[in-house]
């Protein structure tokens, strides 16, 4: 059984938002610093990872401090994101009329999209910040939208289900018993988000009862179950198939891509998400750092001899005849999303043939 994220999964629905004032910004608590007293290696670096900063309050968003003036024009509309003090305003003008709204929630650490409230509804900003261009462009997935007026140009009104999806994955505590509670959320993925019961365990630990109250150990899950667990936000294989998301856009959904790999084995820990990624650490971007994981299956005799004792090597898989390093650079090629602004390593591990279409 896959443990549940405490902010339940992404197929769920929003309570009726109309007429409800949504914005309540509690002081940000920092549970991770308390967890770090005992779990320093995990809880210490995690808050600054892309997941830890999956959502940020405007006044804690480094982007707004480093880029107090951002602008973008897509005729006939001009967009501005301007920060003064602790407030960031998102404005759209058609030259005669201007709509300005305060940004309440920033989603993402690098690339960022903003959510704001308007007339009791939540909207996703029509433009987002992309580090690859160090500026604004149309939000991924919205490029096909053609606003008919200034009100539509502001952003995309979220559907009923989306707020719970967005906040459920990018923050902690926002969704409880199937309901959205924005007043309770902690920004980003905190310890409690993945380790249900972490907060209670911490309280118990302070009272000297740490043993027996620890949340379930996720490391014990099978590769299939880890994919299902991480896939609650990164999308499981079945979510992608059920929704029939095809084409390069699904490169974002790593559990789906990984499960399509010929070498994926739901019971082999060498191919699980956490075989390569430590979610408590920042994403490692050097290709060579993943070699040892690949060689745990694909090592030649000589390579096996050089691997550390911790790397369990069963050489049942063929070694690569082309190279002995930087495996992911060929076998997990980088794929750009259709807007060309965001790139992901394709997690469908394979022998890539020149000119072959993207296997979706």
């Amino acid at each position: 059984m896959v443990p549940r994220l405490t902010t339940p999964r992404i197929f769920l629905v929003l309570v009726l938002l109309a007429g409800v004032h949504l914005v309540a910004q509690p002081a940000q608590t920092n549970a991770a610093s308390s967890c770090a007293r005992c779990h320093a290696a995990q809880a210490g670096p995690q808050p600054d990872t892309p997941m830890g900063r999956g959502m940020q309050w405007p006044d804690a968003n480094p982007l707004f401090k480093s880029h107090p003036q951002l602008s973008f024009r897509k005729a006939p509309y001009t967009y501005r994101v301007e920060t003064k003090g602790n407030q960031t305003l998102y404005s759209v003008t058609d030259g005669t009329r201007t709509i300005s709204l305060p940004i309440h929630w920033s989603f993402g650490k690098g690339a960022q999209t903003w959510l704001f409230e308007r007339d009791g509804n939540l909207y996703e900003s029509m433009v987002s910040y992309y580090p690859s261009i160090d500026g604004l462009e149309i939000t991924t997935g919205d490029s096909a939208l053609t606003p008919q007026n200034l009100d539509e140009a502001v952003g995309r009104k979220l559907t009923k289900t989306e707020p719970k999806d967005c906040f459920g994955c990018h923050s902690t505590g926002a969704v409880s018993m199937g309901k959205l509670h924005l007043e309770r959320l902690e920004p980003g993925v905190t310890c409690e988000h993945c380790h249900a019961g972490a907060n209670a365990h911490m309280v118990a630990a302070f009272q000297g009862e740490a043993y027996g109250t620890a949340p379930p150990d996720l490391k014990g899950l099978s590769s299939e179950d880890i994919s299902s667990f991480c896939g609650q936000c990164h999308r499981t294989w079945e979510m992608v198939v059920r929704s029939n998301w095809r084409g390069e856009v699904n490169v974002r959904f790593q559990p789906y891509r990984l499960a399509n790999s010929k070498c994926f084995d739901g019971t082999d820990p060498r191919i699980s998400c956490i075989a390569c990624h430590d979610p408590h650490q920042d994403l490692v971007t050097e290709d060579s750092s993943y070699d040892a994981t690949c060689l745990a299956c694909h090592a030649s005799t000589n390579q096996a001899a050089n691997l550390s004792a911790q790397t369990v090597v069963h050489r049942e898989a063929k070694p690569c005849t082309v190279a002995s390093a930087n495996c992911v650079s060929c076998h997990m090629p980088k794929v750009k999303l259709p807007n060309g602004l965001v790139t992901f390593h394709d997690h469908e591990i394979r022998i890539v043939k020149p000119g072959a279409p993207y296997p979706d």
Binding site: P8, V13, K160, V241, R242, D265
Partner: protein, 332 residues
Amino acid sequence: MQNDVPRAIELYSRAVQVNPKWPEGWWFLGSLQYGTGAYVPARDALSRYIELIPTGGPAFALRGLCEFETGQYAQALGDIQHGISQGAANQPRNEQILRYHEALLQTRLGNYTSALKMYSIFAKNGVTNPELLAAIGLAGLRMPLLPKDVGTEQQGLVSAAGDAAYRFLAGDEASATRAFRDLFQRFPTAPNVHFLYGYLLFAADPDAALAEFQQELRITPSNADAEVMAAWGLLLHNSGAEALPYAQKAAEQEPALPSAQLVLGRSLMETGDLKEGTFYLEKARQLDPNNLEVHLALAKAYSKSGRKEDARCERILSLQLSNSNGATLDHP
């Protein structure tokens, strides 16, 4: 004399007797007979045409409409669907007639989900009339009847259910909510009313849908479909343990229902009984080999048990089915 249909029928009948290999003769004879309500001879004439021109989509469709009138519902559905696949619905008016009859037949044969999907196209296009509302009501209330077969005592319920569902399918949720509230008040013990509302809510609000399925089970405790949907909603919440009792009851009540076997298998798998779970999922696959959800669940079950190749086969099948369905599936 123009428009002398009886005379034309007589002449065509004589002509095809003289030349039985004249396809157009059979076609005109069959379509004229259909127009006069002579459904049995029309069906037979169209069968002769189809023998000569097996790719004639419109002939299949028209024969299906004849069979609809003669009460051969399964054959009618098969012929209409085949006709549509051969281009019989390429003109908007023909499409409306054929899709409507297809939906009526799906309801009559117990395929309520398919029928509601078809009716949603009518609702989105603003097509409405009292018979359509009754037809939607029948599909929604899971009554295997045609509108003409609804008894007087049921007509109020069926029409009101159809009207509420129509509003929902047309996208007018506020008005649909009011209509359903009114429906619940007027018919507090009618079976499948809460099921219908839950079914419609499911895609956008599974929590509210679950509450409706549970309410349905309070009214009709033997409703296996409501048990299935309650279990399914909970499974999508990753609440396998809560789903299991519903799934067990559904499978006990309707062992031949593929979705009951599916939710039972999936609930068992999610609660750690992989072996039993796989057994029931394989049973579901036997009962409904083209059910995407069954293949998705089996892919997971096989993967979890280390049956890598079997998992891969199920994944490939799932992708093929997802491609052919081409749309989001919300129900098992």
